[in-house]
Point group: C2
Chain length 161, copies 2
Amino acid sequence: MSAKAKRRARSGCPVSTSLEILGDRWSLLIIRDLMVRGHHTFKEFQESGERIASNILTDRLRSLEAAGIITAEVEKDDRRRMSYRLTEKGIDLAPVLLELLIWGGNHEQTETPSAAVAEMEKNRDEILAETRRRWKARDRTPLIPRFDSEVVARNLSRKTR
Amino acid sequence: MSAKAKRRARSGCPVSTSLEILGDRWSLLIIRDLMVRGHHTFKEFQESGERIASNILTDRLRSLEAAGIITAEVEKDDRRRMSYRLTEKGIDLAPVLLELLIWGGNHEQTETPSAAVAEMEKNRDEILAETRRRWKARDRTPLIPRFDSEVVARNLSRKTR
Protein backbone atom coordinates (compact mmCIF):
# COMPACT_ATOMS: atom_id res chain seq x y z
CA MET A 1 0.00 0.00 0.00
CA SER A 2 1.25 3.49 -0.81
CA ALA A 3 1.67 6.12 1.90
CA LYS A 4 -1.63 7.68 2.87
CA ALA A 5 -1.98 11.12 1.39
CA LYS A 6 -2.63 14.04 3.69
CA ARG A 7 -5.20 16.57 2.54
CA ARG A 8 -7.99 18.59 4.08
CA ALA A 9 -11.04 16.40 3.52
CA ARG A 10 -14.67 17.56 3.66
CA SER A 11 -15.40 14.63 6.01
CA GLY A 12 -13.74 11.58 7.51
CA CYS A 13 -15.75 9.18 5.34
CA PRO A 14 -13.56 7.24 2.91
CA VAL A 15 -16.27 7.25 0.21
CA SER A 16 -16.37 11.02 0.41
CA THR A 17 -12.58 11.26 0.30
CA SER A 18 -12.42 8.98 -2.76
CA LEU A 19 -15.00 11.14 -4.52
CA GLU A 20 -13.05 14.30 -3.77
CA ILE A 21 -10.25 12.80 -5.87
CA LEU A 22 -12.19 10.79 -8.46
CA GLY A 23 -15.65 12.38 -8.52
CA ASP A 24 -15.79 13.85 -12.01
CA ARG A 25 -16.68 12.61 -15.48
CA TRP A 26 -13.10 12.13 -16.69
CA SER A 27 -10.54 10.96 -14.11
CA LEU A 28 -11.68 7.34 -14.05
CA LEU A 29 -11.74 7.24 -17.86
CA ILE A 30 -8.05 8.16 -18.01
CA ILE A 31 -7.44 5.44 -15.43
CA ARG A 32 -9.46 3.01 -17.58
CA ASP A 33 -7.32 3.90 -20.63
CA LEU A 34 -4.14 3.21 -18.67
CA MET A 35 -5.49 0.10 -17.01
CA VAL A 36 -7.17 -1.92 -19.75
CA ARG A 37 -6.53 -0.22 -23.09
CA GLY A 38 -2.76 0.07 -22.95
CA HIS A 39 -2.89 3.85 -23.53
CA HIS A 40 -0.06 5.83 -21.98
CA THR A 41 0.37 9.11 -23.85
CA PHE A 42 -1.52 12.40 -23.91
CA LYS A 43 -2.41 11.81 -27.57
CA GLU A 44 -3.85 8.37 -26.87
CA PHE A 45 -6.01 9.66 -24.01
CA GLN A 46 -7.16 12.49 -26.23
CA GLU A 47 -8.15 10.15 -29.04
CA SER A 48 -10.12 7.84 -26.76
CA GLY A 49 -13.78 7.51 -27.73
CA GLU A 50 -15.07 10.24 -25.39
CA ARG A 51 -13.00 13.08 -26.91
CA ILE A 52 -11.77 14.78 -23.77
CA ALA A 53 -10.80 18.43 -24.29
CA SER A 54 -7.06 18.97 -24.04
CA ASN A 55 -7.26 21.56 -21.24
CA ILE A 56 -9.39 19.19 -19.13
CA LEU A 57 -7.02 16.33 -19.89
CA THR A 58 -4.00 18.41 -18.82
CA ASP A 59 -5.78 19.36 -15.62
CA ARG A 60 -6.85 15.79 -14.78
CA LEU A 61 -3.40 14.33 -15.47
CA ARG A 62 -1.94 16.88 -13.05
CA SER A 63 -4.51 16.06 -10.35
CA LEU A 64 -4.03 12.32 -10.75
CA GLU A 65 -0.28 12.77 -10.48
CA ALA A 66 -0.66 15.01 -7.41
CA ALA A 67 -2.90 12.37 -5.79
CA GLY A 68 -0.25 9.71 -6.39
CA ILE A 69 -2.45 7.71 -8.78
CA ILE A 70 -0.24 8.07 -11.87
CA THR A 71 3.39 8.88 -12.54
CA ALA A 72 4.71 10.72 -15.56
CA GLU A 73 8.10 10.21 -17.13
CA VAL A 74 9.78 11.28 -20.35
CA GLU A 75 9.52 8.59 -23.05
CA LYS A 76 12.77 6.83 -23.93
CA ASP A 77 12.28 6.85 -27.73
CA ASP A 78 10.78 10.33 -27.98
CA ARG A 79 12.08 12.73 -25.36
CA ARG A 80 9.44 15.35 -26.16
CA ARG A 81 6.71 12.97 -25.05
CA MET A 82 5.54 12.01 -21.57
CA SER A 83 4.63 8.46 -20.73
CA TYR A 84 2.07 7.89 -17.97
CA ARG A 85 1.78 4.87 -15.75
CA LEU A 86 -0.50 3.85 -12.88
CA THR A 87 1.06 3.62 -9.43
CA GLU A 88 0.08 0.86 -7.01
CA LYS A 89 -2.54 3.26 -5.62
CA GLY A 90 -3.79 3.63 -9.19
CA ILE A 91 -3.98 -0.08 -10.00
CA ASP A 92 -5.87 -0.54 -6.73
CA LEU A 93 -8.75 1.24 -8.48
CA ALA A 94 -9.35 -1.81 -10.69
CA PRO A 95 -12.27 -3.09 -8.54
CA VAL A 96 -13.97 0.34 -8.64
CA LEU A 97 -13.70 0.43 -12.44
CA LEU A 98 -14.90 -3.14 -12.83
CA GLU A 99 -17.98 -2.46 -10.66
CA LEU A 100 -18.78 0.72 -12.64
CA LEU A 101 -18.48 -1.34 -15.82
CA ILE A 102 -20.78 -4.08 -14.54
CA TRP A 103 -23.36 -1.60 -13.23
CA GLY A 104 -23.39 0.46 -16.44
CA GLY A 105 -23.47 -2.68 -18.55
CA ASN A 106 -26.44 -4.06 -16.62
CA HIS A 107 -28.50 -0.89 -16.37
CA GLU A 108 -27.73 1.31 -19.34
CA GLN A 109 -27.62 0.98 -23.11
CA THR A 110 -23.97 0.37 -23.95
CA GLU A 111 -22.00 -1.50 -26.59
CA THR A 112 -21.25 -4.32 -24.17
CA PRO A 113 -23.55 -7.29 -24.77
CA SER A 114 -25.36 -8.56 -21.66
CA ALA A 115 -23.59 -11.91 -21.99
CA ALA A 116 -20.20 -10.18 -21.75
CA VAL A 117 -21.27 -8.30 -18.61
CA ALA A 118 -22.50 -11.54 -17.04
CA GLU A 119 -19.18 -13.16 -17.96
CA MET A 120 -17.26 -10.35 -16.22
CA GLU A 121 -19.49 -10.59 -13.14
CA LYS A 122 -18.69 -14.28 -12.95
CA ASN A 123 -14.94 -13.80 -13.49
CA ARG A 124 -14.32 -10.70 -11.34
CA ASP A 125 -11.34 -12.22 -9.52
CA GLU A 126 -9.69 -13.53 -12.66
CA ILE A 127 -10.08 -10.19 -14.47
CA LEU A 128 -8.68 -8.26 -11.51
CA ALA A 129 -5.73 -10.65 -11.13
CA GLU A 130 -4.91 -10.43 -14.83
CA THR A 131 -5.20 -6.62 -14.79
CA ARG A 132 -2.73 -6.46 -11.93
CA ARG A 133 -0.38 -9.01 -13.53
CA ARG A 134 -0.17 -6.92 -16.71
CA TRP A 135 0.41 -3.73 -14.74
CA LYS A 136 3.22 -5.37 -12.79
CA ALA A 137 4.80 -6.86 -15.94
CA ARG A 138 4.40 -3.50 -17.77
CA ASP A 139 2.48 -5.49 -20.36
CA ARG A 140 0.38 -3.00 -22.33
CA THR A 141 -1.61 -5.51 -24.38
CA PRO A 142 -5.18 -4.21 -24.08
CA LEU A 143 -7.23 -6.43 -21.80
CA ILE A 144 -10.60 -4.93 -22.70
CA PRO A 145 -9.99 -2.84 -25.80
CA ARG A 146 -13.60 -2.35 -26.76
CA PHE A 147 -15.51 -4.17 -24.01
CA ASP A 148 -16.18 -6.93 -26.48
CA SER A 149 -16.92 -10.32 -24.96
CA GLU A 150 -14.96 -12.26 -27.56
CA VAL A 151 -11.90 -10.08 -27.16
CA VAL A 152 -12.04 -10.37 -23.37
CA ALA A 153 -12.40 -14.15 -23.57
CA ARG A 154 -9.52 -14.38 -26.04
CA ASN A 155 -7.29 -12.11 -23.97
CA LEU A 156 -8.02 -13.95 -20.75
CA SER A 157 -7.47 -17.39 -22.27
CA ARG A 158 -4.19 -16.28 -23.86
CA LYS A 159 -2.40 -16.15 -20.51
CA THR A 160 -3.31 -19.74 -19.64
CA ARG A 161 -2.01 -21.16 -22.91
CA MET B 1 -32.70 -5.85 -13.42
CA SER B 2 -34.46 -2.59 -14.28
CA ALA B 3 -35.15 -1.64 -17.88
CA LYS B 4 -32.06 -0.25 -19.56
CA ALA B 5 -32.29 3.51 -19.84
CA LYS B 6 -31.99 5.13 -23.23
CA ARG B 7 -29.89 8.25 -23.47
CA ARG B 8 -27.37 9.72 -25.86
CA ALA B 9 -24.05 8.51 -24.46
CA ARG B 10 -20.64 10.02 -25.24
CA SER B 11 -19.39 6.49 -26.03
CA GLY B 12 -20.52 2.87 -25.88
CA CYS B 13 -18.25 2.08 -22.94
CA PRO B 14 -20.22 1.17 -19.81
CA VAL B 15 -17.64 2.81 -17.51
CA SER B 16 -18.10 6.06 -19.41
CA THR B 17 -21.89 5.73 -19.30
CA SER B 18 -21.82 5.11 -15.53
CA LEU B 19 -19.65 8.20 -15.05
CA GLU B 20 -22.02 10.34 -17.08
CA ILE B 21 -24.64 9.56 -14.43
CA LEU B 22 -22.51 9.28 -11.28
CA GLY B 23 -19.34 11.22 -12.10
CA ASP B 24 -19.56 14.11 -9.67
CA ARG B 25 -18.62 14.75 -6.03
CA TRP B 26 -22.13 14.34 -4.60
CA SER B 27 -24.39 11.75 -6.28
CA LEU B 28 -22.70 8.72 -4.72
CA LEU B 29 -22.78 10.38 -1.28
CA ILE B 30 -26.56 10.71 -1.43
CA ILE B 31 -26.66 7.05 -2.47
CA ARG B 32 -24.39 6.20 0.48
CA ASP B 33 -26.72 8.05 2.88
CA LEU B 34 -29.71 6.08 1.56
CA MET B 35 -27.84 2.79 1.46
CA VAL B 36 -25.97 2.54 4.75
CA ARG B 37 -26.98 5.46 6.96
CA GLY B 38 -30.74 5.08 6.86
CA HIS B 39 -31.22 8.67 5.63
CA HIS B 40 -34.24 9.28 3.46
CA THR B 41 -35.24 12.94 3.64
CA PHE B 42 -33.86 16.14 2.11
CA LYS B 43 -33.02 17.43 5.57
CA GLU B 44 -31.07 14.31 6.50
CA PHE B 45 -29.02 14.45 3.27
CA GLN B 46 -28.40 18.14 3.90
CA GLU B 47 -27.17 17.51 7.43
CA SER B 48 -24.79 14.74 6.39
CA GLY B 49 -21.16 15.43 7.25
CA GLU B 50 -20.22 16.96 3.89
CA ARG B 51 -22.76 19.84 4.04
CA ILE B 52 -24.10 19.71 0.50
CA ALA B 53 -25.62 23.00 -0.66
CA SER B 54 -29.40 22.79 -1.00
CA ASN B 55 -29.48 23.81 -4.68
CA ILE B 56 -26.95 21.09 -5.55
CA LEU B 57 -28.89 18.57 -3.48
CA THR B 58 -32.15 19.45 -5.26
CA ASP B 59 -30.41 19.07 -8.61
CA ARG B 60 -28.79 15.72 -7.75
CA LEU B 61 -32.00 14.25 -6.35
CA ARG B 62 -33.74 15.15 -9.61
CA SER B 63 -30.98 13.58 -11.72
CA LEU B 64 -30.91 10.41 -9.65
CA GLU B 65 -34.68 10.11 -9.95
CA ALA B 66 -34.51 10.73 -13.72
CA ALA B 67 -31.84 8.03 -14.02
CA GLY B 68 -34.08 5.56 -12.19
CA ILE B 69 -31.69 5.23 -9.23
CA ILE B 70 -34.04 6.63 -6.57
CA THR B 71 -37.78 7.10 -6.21
CA ALA B 72 -39.49 9.89 -4.30
CA GLU B 73 -42.81 9.66 -2.54
CA VAL B 74 -44.74 11.80 -0.10
CA GLU B 75 -44.17 10.71 3.54
CA LYS B 76 -47.13 9.09 5.23
CA ASP B 77 -46.80 10.92 8.59
CA ASP B 78 -45.85 14.31 7.15
CA ARG B 79 -47.39 15.02 3.77
CA ARG B 80 -45.21 18.09 3.18
CA ARG B 81 -42.12 15.90 3.18
CA MET B 82 -40.69 13.65 0.46
CA SER B 83 -39.22 10.29 1.32
CA TYR B 84 -36.52 8.91 -0.97
CA ARG B 85 -35.69 5.29 -1.59
CA LEU B 86 -33.17 3.44 -3.74
CA THR B 87 -34.55 1.43 -6.65
CA GLU B 88 -33.08 -1.94 -7.57
CA LYS B 89 -30.81 -0.09 -10.00
CA GLY B 90 -29.76 2.05 -7.03
CA ILE B 91 -29.05 -0.79 -4.64
CA ASP B 92 -26.99 -2.41 -7.41
CA LEU B 93 -24.47 0.39 -6.78
CA ALA B 94 -23.50 -1.18 -3.44
CA PRO B 95 -20.35 -2.85 -4.85
CA VAL B 96 -19.20 0.47 -6.41
CA LEU B 97 -19.61 2.24 -3.05
CA LEU B 98 -17.89 -0.53 -1.13
CA GLU B 99 -14.88 -0.45 -3.48
CA LEU B 100 -14.64 3.35 -3.20
CA LEU B 101 -14.75 2.97 0.58
CA ILE B 102 -12.01 0.33 0.59
CA TRP B 103 -9.81 2.29 -1.80
CA GLY B 104 -10.18 5.57 0.11
CA GLY B 105 -9.72 3.78 3.42
CA ASN B 106 -6.51 2.15 2.24
CA HIS B 107 -4.93 5.11 0.50
CA GLU B 108 -6.14 8.29 2.16
CA GLN B 109 -6.34 9.71 5.66
CA THR B 110 -9.88 9.01 6.82
CA GLU B 111 -11.65 8.29 10.08
CA THR B 112 -11.87 4.59 9.24
CA PRO B 113 -9.17 2.62 11.05
CA SER B 114 -7.06 0.35 8.79
CA ALA B 115 -8.33 -2.70 10.69
CA ALA B 116 -11.93 -1.80 9.81
CA VAL B 117 -11.04 -1.44 6.13
CA ALA B 118 -9.28 -4.81 6.18
CA GLU B 119 -12.35 -6.31 7.85
CA MET B 120 -14.61 -4.93 5.11
CA GLU B 121 -12.27 -6.21 2.39
CA LYS B 122 -12.49 -9.67 3.93
CA ASN B 123 -16.27 -9.56 4.33
CA ARG B 124 -17.28 -7.95 1.03
CA ASP B 125 -19.92 -10.56 0.21
CA GLU B 126 -21.48 -10.50 3.67
CA ILE B 127 -21.67 -6.70 3.73
CA LEU B 128 -23.24 -6.58 0.26
CA ALA B 129 -25.76 -9.28 1.12
CA GLU B 130 -26.75 -7.52 4.35
CA THR B 131 -27.04 -4.15 2.56
CA ARG B 132 -29.40 -5.69 0.03
CA ARG B 133 -31.37 -7.54 2.69
CA ARG B 134 -32.02 -4.29 4.58
CA TRP B 135 -33.01 -2.48 1.41
CA LYS B 136 -35.47 -5.23 0.51
CA ALA B 137 -36.92 -5.33 4.06
CA ARG B 138 -37.11 -1.49 4.14
CA ASP B 139 -35.00 -1.76 7.29
CA ARG B 140 -33.37 1.64 7.82
CA THR B 141 -31.09 0.66 10.72
CA PRO B 142 -27.76 2.23 9.72
CA LEU B 143 -25.32 -0.46 8.62
CA ILE B 144 -22.26 1.76 8.63
CA PRO B 145 -23.29 4.94 10.43
CA ARG B 146 -19.84 6.32 10.94
CA PHE B 147 -17.63 3.76 9.21
CA ASP B 148 -16.62 2.54 12.62
CA SER B 149 -15.35 -1.02 12.77
CA GLU B 150 -17.06 -1.87 16.06
CA VAL B 151 -20.39 -0.55 14.84
CA VAL B 152 -20.09 -2.52 11.60
CA ALA B 153 -19.24 -5.71 13.49
CA ARG B 154 -22.12 -5.15 15.93
CA ASN B 155 -24.59 -4.42 13.14
CA LEU B 156 -23.52 -7.42 11.11
CA SER B 157 -23.68 -9.82 14.05
CA ARG B 158 -27.12 -8.53 15.06
CA LYS B 159 -28.83 -10.16 12.08
CA THR B 160 -27.51 -13.62 12.93
CA ARG B 161 -28.79 -13.52 16.50
